[in-house]
């Protein structure tokens, strides 16, 4: 591989790959969030691609995946699913194999917008799998006024006192404050981060909790009335129909979960074949249908019957209004510090 601390723009030298390699000599190991791919994927991949097999390891956060992939040497993983800014960091560390577009004809299925993502313009080392944004998820029956601004969370009205949550992971914790102040979610300017921190400190006494896993449950039980949420995790499909999602007027982010191929992989042809297979509309639409996330695959989205009002209706162009999160390198520590300050304060 390359030196591991070069900045993210260089791309590691590509291996020579053979388009007609004998896949039956290769076996695949992927790591992915639980429930993020169809259960029958291993069986179908084995049958379709004629590889020896596909093993699925699970990680439930990007952080855990990063630990496993970066700890040292060969993690044994061929294809990893991580969010965009983490793909960017992995690449900067020289751990990723550049994509060989010639081995992934299905890239053509993607929306054009999906090749313009700021952490990896042109999909040089990552292929997007799902995308979405962050907004306010709320109980239509418990709010007195429909939330439209991040300030509704940061300075909750009396009826929402101690009934709102923000996320706990540092970049999303900062997001509402940064956006409401009109700053970039990728800012590394100390004074902007300081202002965001002041705003959050002021908000803290009015919050129920910081939470990025169970906010949906809290809404359902009525413990919370408004929460900061990723669109797909906002339970708008709850049978009671009293939960809605809103992207605040100040704007938000665009997150992308991507597929990357590890430099250490010994099955790179099969890895490419797998990504190509996942971009098949039939497979890729499974994600949208089953995990309620939009997929950046035009052909796949067009296959779907999207119910009215579903979050899946959001158009790629609207999504691109959101600012794509990029890895900030050394500056990301400022966000760690911000989140610790808020929790300890």
């Amino acid at each position: 591989g390359e030196s591991s601390n070069s900045d993210g723009t260089t791309v590691a030298a590509a291996d020579e790959l053979k388009p007609n390699a004998d896949l039956s000599k290769q076996a695949l190991q992927i790591t992915v969030w639980p429930g993020y791919t169809p259960e029958e994927l291993p069986a179908r991949v084995k049958q379709k691609l004629k590889v020896q097999g596909l093993k699925v390891a699970l990680h439930d956060t990007n952080e855990i995946a990063m630990q496993k992939l970066t700890a040292s040497g060969d993690s044994g993983i061929d294809v990893a699913f991580v969010s965009g800014q983490y793909a960017q960091a992995l690449n900067a560390m020289g751990l990723l194999e550049p994509m060989h577009p010639e081995l992934i004809p299905n890239l053509a299925n993607l929306y054009p917008e999906a090749t313009q993502l700021s952490y990896d313009k042109g999909n040089k080392y990552s292929v997007p799998y799902t995308w979405g944004t962050t907004g306010i998820c709320y109980r239509t029956d418990l709010v007195k006024k429909k939330p439209t601004s991040w300030n509704d969370l940061l300075k909750p009205p009396a009826w929402a006192e101690k009934k709102v949550t923000l996320m706990t992971t540092e970049r999303w914790l900062a997001l509402p404050a940064l956006k409401s102040l009109g700053f970039s979610v990728n800012t590394d300017k100390d004074e902007e981060i300081q202002k965001a921190k002041d705003l959050l400190m002021a908000a803290k006494p009015h919050l129920l909790a910081l939470d990025d896993t169970t906010f949906g449950d809290r809404l359902k039980s009525g413990e919370a009335v408004m929460v900061e949420a990723w669109d797909g995790w906002c339970p708008t499909n709850d049978p009671k129909g009293n939960i809605a999602f809103e992207v605040p007027k100040e704007g938000s982010d665009l997150w992308v979960d991507t597929m990357v191929i590890m430099k250490s992989s010994k099955n790179k042809e099969a890895a490419h074949a797998l990504i190509n297979y996942i971009l098949d509309p039939e497979i890729h639409s499974w994600a949208a249908e089953n995990i309620n996330y939009k997929v950046p695959n035009k052909a796949a989205m067009e296959r779907l019957q999207i119910p009215k009002g579903s979050l899946l209706e959001t158009k790629p162009a609207e999504l691109l209004n959101g600012e794509s999160l990029v890895d900030l390198g050394q500056s990301s520590l400022k966000y760690t510090r911000l989140s610790q300050d808020i929790k300890a304060g």
Partner: protein
């Protein structure tokens, strides 16, 4: 005591050396390979620098240790000490009588009672925490109950009290089991002798039972205090992430900030404190 005399040697030196080898070497070897070596690797990161995108750049620096003295970290240590200390104290106060009574049960029932102590923990941790949330949250069972009487709702969750409660719940068996093992071996005649000499139940406890079970008390306290101090899940789930403890700091470095060197420095500091505690514990237990 001045005239403290060494314990009687059990076997001649040759046997002792062999015994030391037979008993100590398997465990110590295991620890060396699977604990000390890995730990050394991780802790060695503390003198290097964080890579721009995470990972470790092998360039020497002491700056990670300098950062330890940031008031933020000191205040987190303060909060952690308070929470872990309180947890330990309560665990001891309710754990001791429980262990004591279990040790008095007829032989057959002892094991049953012990298993009853750990059985709740054979379910899943997260589920148990959720059960507490269900009980204590705003619309939860306790508040619903209070509402019937026109009371509440109380803010039972997402504060330091809830953290203490959650830690107590998680670590109580770690207090009870060592205490049980220590209390169980006490000769009941010693308690009888004490009562006979006019000591009340409490005095007997204070003067005879407690001093003779000091090693168990120390072990139990250590087992509760240290993981409480380093816990990061309970502060998030029951404390609503609104307070952090030392465990969260370390977790953040390794997982979110990907600042392994600083995480290693924090760990090293924590371990240094631990080692001091452990040696103090060993010293006190050996004296008892």
């Amino acid at each position: 005591m001045k005239s403290e005399v060494k314990a009687r040697p059990v076997a001649p030196p040759r046997g002792r050396r062999l015994g030391a080898f037979v008993f100590l070497s398997p465990g110590l070897t295991y620890l060396l390979v699977l604990l000390l070596v890995p730990l050394a690797v991780v802790l060695s990161y503390s003198v290097f620098q964080r890579g721009r995108y995470g990972g470790v750049v092998y360039e020497f620096t002491t700056e990670n240790f300098g950062r330890l003295f940031d008031p933020l970290y000191l205040s987190v240590v303060g909060v952690s000490l308070k929470i872990a200390g309180l947890t330990t104290l309560i665990a001891l106060l309710i754990g001791y009588p429980t262990a004591y009574l279990i040790a008095q049960l007829p032989r057959r029932w002892k094991t049953v009672a012990l298993v009853a102590v750990v059985l709740p923990f054979w379910t899943n941790f997260i589920i148990r925490v959720y059960a507490w949330i269900m009980l204590l949250s705003g619309p939860g069972l306790v508040n619903s109950g209070l509402k019937v009487f026109g009371l509440g709702p109380l803010e039972l969750l997402y504060n330091q009290g809830a953290i203490v409660m959650g830690l107590l719940y998680s670590y109580l068996p770690l207090m009870i089991l060592p205490l049980y093992a220590a209390i169980e071996r006490l000769d009941p005649q010693l308690r009888e002798a004490s009562a006979n000499l006019g000591a009340s139940g409490f005095t007997t406890f204070r003067k005879v039972t407690l001093p003779l079970t000091v090693p168990g008390v120390l072990t139990g306290c250590l087992f509760v205090f240290v993981p409480s101090f380093g816990n990061f899940v309970i502060p998030e789930m029951l404390g609503g992430s609104k307070s952090i403890m030392v465990g969260n700091l370390i977790r953040d470095q390794f997982l979110t900030a990907r600042d392994w060197p600083f995480g290693a420095a924090l760990s090293l500091a924590l371990i240094a404190v631990l080692v001091v505690l452990l040696i103090a514990q060993a010293w006190a237990a050996r004296r008892a």
